[in-house]
């Protein structure tokens, strides 16, 4: 305990003999499945602890876990981005936050906590959106880990990192490690932009969000969810006009709950509760600490292996289902040749030549591998339909009724843009 006696005297010391006893067993020698390029010993430790710069996107359920794991693994220059503030419902799993932190920035509180607990680690928080940052910003990192709950943000960072790849500059390829959880289930994956399958390649693996037809909501409600949708989609704007529904405002949720409960009573439908109301309007995904711990650990383990080359890394998808025993499936998700982000080709679509522009737009909204909300369409020569600004929308609106085949020739190209789409989607049209 000689070392302990010395260190006890200087409590602020950020280094002590034996600190990396566990991790160094891996970094000092190779294993049977280690690549020959691994530089065991001081060189790899120096890179990990002094040179490697890593970005964590999200400081929530996964983010808190990721930050702690990275810090203990020996990453010392960590950046974290999160636009959210802490809510009481985060405290059952986001373990760097306490009751007193409710309302504060997740990124800032998490960064401070890590720096207090793990000496010598620098965590630089940014309280804002990933879209605020440009390519120069993302270029500074060696690795990026995402712990996000938003499909839109994931698509944005994925497309940004794919676009950044410059074949003349190997440093421009930033490995992206992405994790996600829902209840007892989760997944972790490694994306090497342009090399492996990217986030966009696998978009069709996502569960389709439940959408209730408006006529069911308005006329033939059967489920408590239909009554809640009626309250939020139809009654709220009718009663409150331009006042925006704030799903974080308990008074707004209470109003919806009461309106939905009254409608349910009228139609003799059972099961409208405050909790269900909140779940439906906020699209709440159940979340627990343990699943987040597993997935975050898997993400950080891959980051550690990539940063140190101490062992082979995941190729490229790990899926976990913990509802019935412990089941997991590790596989290589294949790159899509016609991926609109990393495929480099336009997406071929087959369309009936009688279809109107409006029908085509409906089809695009429906498609699970595209996932676009309000698409605008154009060809290299002309505007077909634009959602905004209003004068352009007005000018192009008559085209909605026209046949698409009258506007675009067979084999012609249509460019799709949307605010939710972080890239321009190029379609090649074939008529039947």
């Amino acid at each position: 305990m000689a070392a302990a006696a010395v260190v006890n005297g200087t409590a602020s010391s950020s280094e002590w003999e034996g600190r990396y006893y566990h991790v160094d067993q891996i970094l000092d020698r190779s294993g049977p499945r280690t690549d020959p390029s691994f530089l065991a010993g001081d060189e790899v430790k120096e890179f990990l602890r002094e040179k490697c710069k890593i970005l964590v996107i999200g400081a929530g359920g996964l983010g808190c876990e990721i930050l702690a794991n990275l810090a203990l693994s020996g990453f010392k220059d960590i950046h974290v981005i999160d636009m959210d503030t802490i809510d009481i419902s985060n405290l059952n799993r986001q373990f760097l936050f306490r009751q007193k932190d409710v309302g504060k920035s997740k990124a800032i509180v998490a960064a401070e906590f890590i720096m207090n607990r793990v000496p010598g680690v620098k965590v630089t928080p940014y309280f804002g959106k990933i879209q605020d940052k440009d390519e120069d910003y993302y270029m500074q990192f060696n690795l990026i880990i995402c712990g996000l709950d938003s499909v839109e943000a994931r698509r944005w960072i994925n497309a940004t990192l794919v676009n950044m790849v410059d074949s003349d500059n190997p440093e421009s390829l930033k490995p992206l490690i992405d994790g996600g959880t829902e209840g007892f289930k989760g997944q972790a994956r490694v994306i090497l932009p342009t090399v492996t399958s990217c986030y966009e390649c696998s978009l069709d693996m996502l569960n389709k969000p439940t959408a209730f037809p408006i006529c069911t909501i308005a006329n033939t409600p059967r489920l408590p969810e239909h009554c809640i949708e009626w309250a939020s989609v139809l009654e709220w704007p009718k009663v409150h006009g331009d006042k925006k529904l704030d799903t974080d405002n308990p008074e707004h949720i209470s109003w919806l709950y009461q309106v939905a409960a009254a409608r349910a009573k009228e139609f003799k439908i059972e099961g409208v509760t405050y909790s269900l109301t909140q779940g439906v309007v906020k699209n709440i995904i159940p979340a627990i600490a343990s699943t987040n711990a597993i997935i975050a650990a898997s993400c950080c383990n891959e980051a550690f292996k990539i940063a140190t080359s101490s062992a082979a890394y995941l190729n490229n998808y790990f899926m976990l289902i913990g509802t019935d025993g412990v089941y997991s499936y590790t596989f290589e998700h294949e790159k899509r040749d016609d991926c609109p982000v990393c495929g480099g080709q336009s997406l071929a679509i087959t369309v009936n030549k009688e279809w109107t522009v409006e029908r085509l737009i409906d089809m695009l909204i429906e498609r699970q591998d595209i996932q676009v909300k309000k698409p605008s369409l154009s060809t290299p020569g002309k505007q077909i339909y634009f959602q905004a600004p209003p004068q352009l929308e007005l000018a192009t609106r008559p085209n909605l009724e026209k046949k698409i085949s009258d506007l675009v020739p067979d084999g012609g190209e249509i460019t799709v843009t949307a605010t939710t789409l972080p890239f321009n989607l190029s379609l090649r049209v074939k008529y039947t």
């Binding site: 006890n8 002590w16 499945r33 794991n69 693994s73 007892f184 627990i288 711990a293």
Partner: protein, 530 residues
């Protein structure tokens, strides 16, 4: 904030915003949507013992304290080393060095959740195992979790807990570098709320009287066209099948041709092209092909021989199970499992859907009453003391109940035939398990951990004449590389997996692991050896 002040605020907000949940419900909202209030109550009543305060142990505890277990104890007699201070998030870095490790960890774990109690017990488990008082104390917990406890201590602990069927389950966790495994020891674990994603039978081939009556009463040709397009698919299927049976000697559509014909008979009922309810009925026609009176896995439970070591708290479950068997074979009953009151959504209007839902609910209530009568007659003493909620939950989930029977920790290694079979069927899992067991044997003897020593240890378990898979070399080599490394990421991964299984055992919801779960974080896989 004082109590009166917080009450004032609650009262005030209650009048502004009715229905709003209290602080506790808000805090636990995201998990209550998974295991509900009953699961939460079970967690809050639990007392958990963790042996050691290693990085893995504190990671496991973190994921149990956050969701709100009742109480935890850490049993650990060691002092914090510089290595502990470097890999464990629940120690005060270098300031904890030289101080009792458990005592340093407890406050940092407790601050995660004010409603959880926790204590550090600075003692060695070997001492506790040597006295009656110590043994009683060990047996008093809801569940015991041990990390990297060497086989020479783990063996007597597992034997002590196995000897008493009512004692706590034991989760033993072992890890070295990127490799790990854990085992859950229990005699028997029963689950009524397995949260299966398979929908229970709608009993279309055995319609209850009110449903059949509705289906038969419909004047499909002459009814109002709007009403016609709102007949729920369940009613359409019952009607179509009733007519089919009349012309087919009472039998179901069997061959591909018959199935096609049956589907066509549904579509022929349409009076307009776009009647979605009939299209839905056609798409759901598979429900008619095979609808066993009792699913085969439930049938198998009826003939499950009783276990002399079934834990006492399972006796109610077994009484319910036998009552279920009696319900199915009762000549005056439906000859099936009790019908479920939950109906999936289907194309319809409010009036028809709610009517159908009420029919199912009313009939489910009738069959539940019948079930309760059988239960009370068969097991009068147990029925009197059983919580009615437990009976309701059992009946509601009758289609998805599960009974798991486990083995003692280490039993696999003593069963040479099972090990050899497992090496063939699951080479990577079994090889990794054997390498980790070998490591523990060497550490128990304070022997040097080398590739040769590990291989020799494996051979002494499986026998000299067994073909060993190439996966063994990968596992043994990796363990020799990092025999005592408790890596932060491996610790966090196990922290999640083990806590998850502990939660499933404690809440008796979802289905826990049976046997060993083996983890390889190089190739990033997990696997199970039963």
């Amino acid at each position: 904030m004082s109590t009166s002040e917080s009450q004032d605020i609650e009262e005030a907000t209650a009048t502004i915003a009715p229905g709003q949940p209290d602080d506790k419900t808000r805090r636990y909202d995201r998990q209550l949507r998974i295991w509900a209030a009953s699961g939460q109550a079970a967690l809050e009543a639990s007392r958990i013992l963790v042996l050691s305060s290693s990085a893995t142990s504190t990671s496991i505890l973190k994921n149990l304290v956050l969701p709100g277990i009742g109480h935890f104890s850490i049993l650990d007699s060691t002092l914090t080393t510089p290595a502990d201070a470097g890999n464990n998030f629940f120690l005060n870095a270098s300031q904890s060095i030289g101080k009792p490790r458990a005592q340093e960890a407890v406050p940092l774990l407790r601050e995660l959740n004010e409603s959880v109690q926790g204590e550090a017990v600075i003692q060695d488990v070997k001492e506790l195992l040597s006295t009656d008082q110590g043994k009683d104390w060990l047996r008093s917990f809801s569940i015991i979790i041990a990390h990297n406890l060497n086989n020479d201590v783990l063996a007597p602990l597992s034997t002590l807990l196995w000897a008493n069927p009512n004692g706590p389950p034991l989760i033993s966790v072992r890890s070295a570098g990127f490799l790990a495994e854990f085992h859950i020891q229990y005699h028997e674990h029963s689950v009524s709320q397995s949260h299966s994603e398979n929908a229970p039978s709608l009993r279309i081939t055995r319609p209850f009287p009110a449903l059949l009556e509705w289906a038969r009463s419909l004047d499909l040709q002459n009814m109002d066209p709007t009403d016609h397009s709102h007949i729920p698919m369940v009613v359409i299927l019952v009607r179509a099948l009733d007519e089919w049976r009349k012309s087919h000697d009472g039998s179901l559509p069997k061959t591909a041709a018959e199935k096609k014909e049956f589907k066509n008979s549904i579509l022929a009922m349409k009076i307009k092209l776009d009647e979605e309810n009939f299209e839905e009925a056609e798409a759901q026609a598979w429900r008619v092909w095979s609808e066993p009176a009792v699913p085969s896995d439930i049938q198998a439970l009826f003939s499950l021989p009783p276990l002399p070591t079934s834990p006492q708290h399972n006796s109610t479950f077994h009484a319910l199970l036998q009552s279920l068997s009696a319900f199915v074979s009762d000549p005056s009953g439906p000859g099936t499992l009790p019908i479920s009151a939950t109906l999936p959504d289907m194309k319809s209007d409010t009036k028809n859907y709610v009517r159908l839902q009420n029919l199912y609910r009313a009939h489910a209530e009738v069959e539940k009453t019948k079930f309760k009568e059988i239960f009370a007659a068969k097991y009068p003493e147990i029925a009197k003391t059983t919580n009615p909620d437990e009976v309701d939950s059992f009946v509601k989930n009758a289609h998805h109940i599960r009974v798991l029977r486990g083995k003692q920790w280490g039993a696999l290694d003593r069963d040479r035939e099972a090990i050899v079979n497992s090496l063939t069927s699951q080479p990577r899992e079994t090889a990794t398990h054997l390498a980790l067991s070998a490591l523990s044997n060497l550490l128990s003897r304070n022997a040097e951990v080398t590739i040769d020593a590990l291989n020799a240890e494996v051979l002494s378990t499986v026998g000299q004449d067994v073909d060993l898979p190439e996966e063994l070399e990968a596992a043994v080599g990796e363990i020799a590389r990092a025999p005592t490394a408790d890596l932060p990421n491996t610790a966090a991964f196990l922290g999640g997996l083990v806590a998850q299984e502990a939660i499933k055992v404690i809440t008796e919801q979802y289905v826990p692991l049976n046997g060993y779960c083996v983890v390889d974080l190089i190739d990033s896989w997990t696997g199970v050896i039963n």
